[in-house]
Symmetry: C2
Subunit: 249 residues, 2 copies
Amino acid sequence: MAQLNNVTPLFKDLAKVEHEHNIACKECSLYRLCLPLGLHSNDLAQLDKIIKRSQSYSRGQALFSSDTPFKSIFVVRSGSFKTTVQASDGREQVTGFYFPGEFIGMDAIYEQAYKSSAKALESSSVCELPFEKLQEFGATMPQLQVQMMSRLSKELSGDKTLMFLLGKKTAEEKLATFLLSLSRRFQDRGFSARDFQLTMSRGDIANHLGLAVETVSRMFTRFQDEGLISLQGKAISLTDQDKLKQLCG
Amino acid sequence: MAQLNNVTPLFKDLAKVEHEHNIACKECSLYRLCLPLGLHSNDLAQLDKIIKRSQSYSRGQALFSSDTPFKSIFVVRSGSFKTTVQASDGREQVTGFYFPGEFIGMDAIYEQAYKSSAKALESSSVCELPFEKLQEFGATMPQLQVQMMSRLSKELSGDKTLMFLLGKKTAEEKLATFLLSLSRRFQDRGFSARDFQLTMSRGDIANHLGLAVETVSRMFTRFQDEGLISLQGKAISLTDQDKLKQLCG
DNA sequence: AACGCGCATTGACCTGGATCAATTATCAGT
DNA sequence: ACTGATAATTGATCCAGGTCAATGCGCGTT
């Protein structure tokens, strides 16, 4: 696991990465964040063969929805996605945002059916992992199973944190927490923790945090007035991360 | 998997089950709901050996908390538990209630540390599964890994549903949904879907649903006035399940 | 450059559920 | 059976954040 200490810039050239659809796992800039971490190189080569590296999805396009038959889980390769669950009356909840190296669709394993849907927030691409094959491989690659469980557990843990946020935090705390969560994830991917793009709409943010769009908008202007952030359109800059951290509770 | 079709009463004698701490998995009344489902009998025998069948926990006693070193995941054997996450300022969120056959502690796998804590709601007992051993066994029992992933995924899926509840539902919808969720789980365990005990306090319910105790109390009295439920203390009876279902949204 | 459209902001007002406060049950321990 | 502590109910009031409405902005299209 020496790679973990060997932190290098992940995206020397984002545009280049976006077009290298058929790059092998071991050459992939996301390797450090991704499923194959810890696999032996011959196992990795096998895994490589079953991964379908998809063409890109454009803004708003669905990766899957609740009526898509379950076959695969996905890893974001470039861009970003949102997942939602919806009730029969049309209400929907944005359950998460997903960035490169993050997994989508793991909640479908149990029922062997997607009960949520996933949409691209911008021009994005994914690696598709056929679940049945993944299961087969698991029998001979215990390390792969460990990685999968670890991923599942990580998401579970994140969901508990979100439940706390939804159930107990104020609008101010929710938004501060959200911004710092994005920041941390961008940083993990070799981007700036301070300046980044909000690829999702205000509406998506509000929905995800259990707030109204207007509240998010007002809170953004307040954070700006107080010098915590600077915002133009979708570009945000966290100008006072320490104070933001204090607001999280 | 013929067992799935062979539904028999699970708890002929609850008191008896509670005291049979060392009953083997294949004799256990929870077998149908539990991890070993689908394992070959010699694998099962092996698994049996590593399971620690604990003495019982009394009301309020902690199964683990965030400072307990992570070693095991747990399956409820009898009774019930709640799990909570808490912030440094003392606020806490009840993230779930757990009944016989349900797993506790899976969100700790990723960080190899419990970030939540679990407390018994009544006199209860668990089966303790040492995680390291479970990993070892996984290498030779792919079916066990499948079961584990399936469990993790199930909880993930439930969490998404809860996020919707917390983010989008009204107090009325929250409570109706909660009661029916309990009802369904009791039914799965061979108990009445109509009459059961609320082993958790009103405070726990309120906290879990992102409400104030007073709101839960008022809603309970309203549901009673409208003839949807009948409540005395912790004993509840869902007298109009259909109408409750309509209230869920 | 003018148009159209969805997204975002801002203001005014309203309300579901929180908070505060006061009883009243429940129940565990002696 | 008594008793103190804790949990639950009920009522009165308040407010964070939702809803409604109007306007403004950015951006892709022709």
